[in-house]
Symmetry: C2
Subunit: 106 residues, 2 copies
């Protein structure tokens, strides 16, 4: 049984991934480094919002950034998020197949 502190850490981490906006940013960045302007263009969010979300992801270590002159280039080099999503995706598939079979049996 994990300690309350560890449970809190887990939940905080999962909370980062519980927001479609952040997942979207992560997915974009996993395809390669991007600057903030491109992320604004790609997602349609406001600059301030993107900056905040990137800040959260950076503090969690899921994203890093480097300066390119006046621009900031963000990159997500960690495969963890990809792995987690793959596991969840497999799960979602199983669920849908189960539901499909139940409908067929009925």
């Amino acid at each position: 049984m994990p300690s309350p502190q560890l449970l809190e850490e887990y939940s905080q981490f999962f909370r980062l991934l519980s927001e479609p906006a952040r997942l979207q940013l992560l997915c974009h960045l996993q395809r390669g480094p991007m600057d903030v302007a491109s992320l604004i263009e790609a997602t349609g969010f406001s600059q301030s919002h993107i900056s905040r979300q990137l800040g959260q992801l950076q503090r969690a270590g899921l994203v890093s950034c480097e300066r390119d002159g006046v621009r900031m280039i963000y990159l997500a080099d960690d495969p963890l998020v990809q792995d987690l999503c793959t596991l969840v995706q497999t799960r979602l598939k199983q669920r849908l197949e189960q539901q499909l079979q139940q409908l067929r049996a009925a």
Copy 2:
């Protein structure tokens, strides 16, 4: 690049795990089936709260239940949550070790 719908599904799933109360319930249930009274005893939450959280977990397929007379026995037979937590735990360890080494170098 995942579709918005898929991103939404991912985030909804991770949102389930983003609450310490639900993670706590899952951890208790992964050690074996329990009835609601025991979960109340173990967590200190109100009966209504536990019932709602179990309902969410059940709709997501992370938990199932069976009647035992008037009582409901809940069980979490899915190893997915355990796998996800293991991945995250490995990640947390790495982060701490990095921070430790940086402190040592300074």
